[in-house]
């Protein structure tokens, strides 16, 4: 469980964190979303014991990040913006080294390394030097290193930035695997679809504070309803438009601001067969742009 209260951090005359608040229950994947410079990285670094805040309190599983840093470090795994693994060593050597630094005996570290390599499909490349790994493989190794002690909280700071779509999918699968093991995940990202795909709860951050939070669908609902576009033969279009007024109409193509079920029910009632039916939800991008634009005006 992760609680941050009233965090403040000032760099020069910029408030990187300005009364930042966050509450993530155990086992949740929480997305921290925001534009560049919103303070996401500072927030993660503060929660992962790397940056000391000017004011506020952070508790991880009940331990205070500032006063009980050592205990907190036993509970967390950190995956920073770059893959922080030794490039000269092999994947296995990396995991064994980090395992021993976490206090595991040599043999226990070797066993754990083998397990993680297997889980993250790195067994084949385990004994090759990391400098030959692809971006996605490095990231997976990086995440594996953060999971050696099965942390209570895993921090991921923009884990897929710079990865190709395939590697991105691999990393997403890795994060889901970690969460399935009971780990609480806090993930920062600039990619809205990433938050949408992974996170149960999202906090949108701008100018050092959380400006909105909720599930992805709650956030989307704040912005507008679903839109359904149907294409029917022109003869039926008039009848349909009379029953259910569309927001836009272009010949036989009508767009409604309504749920899919409502549109389908109407079509059934009128015994109209649709040639095409498309549901378009407001994207998280729209939510995000709307929220951050408001914030800028404010």
């Amino acid at each position: 469980m992760l609680i941050a209260e009233g965090l403040r951090k000032r760099y020069g005359d910029v408030d990187a964190l300005d009364d930042f608040e966050l509450n993530v229950p155990a086992g949740e994947i929480h997305g921290l979303l925001g534009p560049n410079g919103a303070g996401k990285t500072t927030a993660v670094r503060a929660m992962a014991t790397l940056v000391r805040v000017d004011a506020g309190r952070i508790l991880i599983n009940g331990f205070d990040v500032h006063r009980e840093a050592r205990s907190v470090r036993r509970q967390i795994g950190l995956v920073g913006q770059q893959a922080a693994v030794d490039e000269i060593l092999s994947g296995r050597q990396n995991l064994v080294m980090f395992g021993r630094l976490y206090g595991l005996a040599k043999s226990a570290a070797a066993t754990r390394a083998a397990e993680l390599l297997e889980t993250f499909e790195l067994t084949e490349a385990a004994d090759r030097t990391v400098s030959g790994y692809s971006g996605g493989m490095r990231r997976r190794l990086d995440i594996a290193a953060a999971l050696i002690l099965t942390p209570a909280v895993l921090f991921l700071d923009e884990p897929t930035t710079g990865l190709d779509p395939r590697a991105r999918n691999e990393v997403w699968a890795t994060v889901r695997q970690a969460a399935a093991g009971g780990t609480t995940v806090l993930l920062t990202t600039q990619y809205l679809d990433e938050a949408d795909q992974l996170a149960a709860q999202i906090s949108v951050m701008d100018h050092g504070r959380v400006i909105a939070s909720g599930t992805p669908s709650e956030l989307k609902r704040q912005i507008g309803r679903d839109r359904v576009t149907v294409t029917v033969d022109p003869a039926s279009a008039d009848a349909l438009a009379r029953r259910l007024p569309p927001v836009t109409r272009d010949g036989g193509t009508l767009t409604f601001e309504a749920g899919v079920s409502e549109v389908v029910r109407t079509l059934d009632d009128l015994e109209i067969t649709a040639d095409d039916l498309v549901l378009r939800r407001p994207t998280l991008d729209e939510v995000f742009l709307t929220l951050t634009a408001k914030e800028t005006v404010r």
Binding site: A48, A83, I88
Partner: protein, 259 residues
């Protein structure tokens, strides 16, 4: 996890690097040997040692001291590289003592330098360098060289932690040359213009070079002055002073990472 044990594990990482990529340290060694050959044979004939003596015998302890000093580069480079790649942050997010990272570096670089020293000494003996001092003195000379390396190590840790940018690392790589050459490592300070000679004599590198020359029983090139009389004490005092200054500075730089 005790700080020392964590430091040792981080040291082992460096040893594993040697096994994976032996060319790095080997290339470093070749560079030192090249410098030795260039000065020993190419320039050596033109250099006169004040107070008499063979130039190669004068040069060798100077080269050993110089290679210890140049070690500052490698230390700063590796500290800065780990900081840039986020490896230092990963270490900092793990449950181990805050001195572990620096101690790991100390262990790794001292091991590196001990091997380098051994190879250079054997190489020197092979091309005609003679140790005429007694074994005890010669051993003390080796200890003084390693003490200089330890001081350079802490300077390197401080620099790498404080200035992790690639530009800063390049600056260190350039600056070691004038600082290294403005000493008695390669030529005697008595052959320099007076003011320059005075600066060179106060270079910590000169103290170690002159002290090891005395202890190995080689010509020192200094016939009078503080350096001639107090070389061994200076070769102890300078590094100890530098360590006393740069250990707390490094600790502060490490703490400042969480700013």
């Amino acid at each position: 996890m005790s700080t020392l044990r964590a430091g040792w594990i981080i040291t082992q990482r460096e040893l594993a690097h040697w096994a994976r990529q032996p060319w790095g340290p080997v290339f470093n060694l070749l560079f030192s040997i090249m410098l030795l050959l260039v000065f020993g044979f190419l320039f050596g004939g033109a250099i006169i040692v004040p107070g008499g003596g063979d130039y190669l015998d004068f040069l060798l302890p100077g080269m050993l001291a110089l290679s210890m000093m140049f070690g500052v580069e490698g230390t700063a480079l590796k500290m800065a590289g780990d900081a840039r790649k986020g490896i230092t942050d990963r270490f900092r997010s793990m449950p181990m003592g805050s001195a572990s990272v620096a101690l790991g570096r100390v262990g790794a670089d001292m091991a590196n330098s001990a091997v380098e020293l051994l190879v250079l000494i054997l190489g020197g003996l092979l091309i005609g360098w003679r140790i005429t001092g007694d074994p005890g003195s010669a051993a003390l000379a080796v200890v003084l060289l390693l003490l200089l390396r330890l001081a350079m190590l802490w300077i390197g840790i401080f620099l790498g932690l404080s200035f992790p940018g690639e530009g800063a690392t390049a600056a260190v790589q350039v600056l070691v040359w004038p600082i290294g050459f403005l000493s008695t490592a390669i030529v005697s300070s008595e052959t320099m213009p007076d003011w320059l000679g005075a600066i060179a004599a106060w270079n910590p590198l000169s103290a170690t070079a002159t002290a090891t020359r005395q202890l190995f029983g080689n010509p020192t090139g200094v016939t009078e002055g503080v350096l001639a009389d107090w070389a061994v004490w200076l070769a102890i005092g300078w590094p100890v002073l530098l360590i006393a200054v740069f250990v707390p500075l490094s600790a502060r730089a490490y703490r400042n990472l969480s700013r």
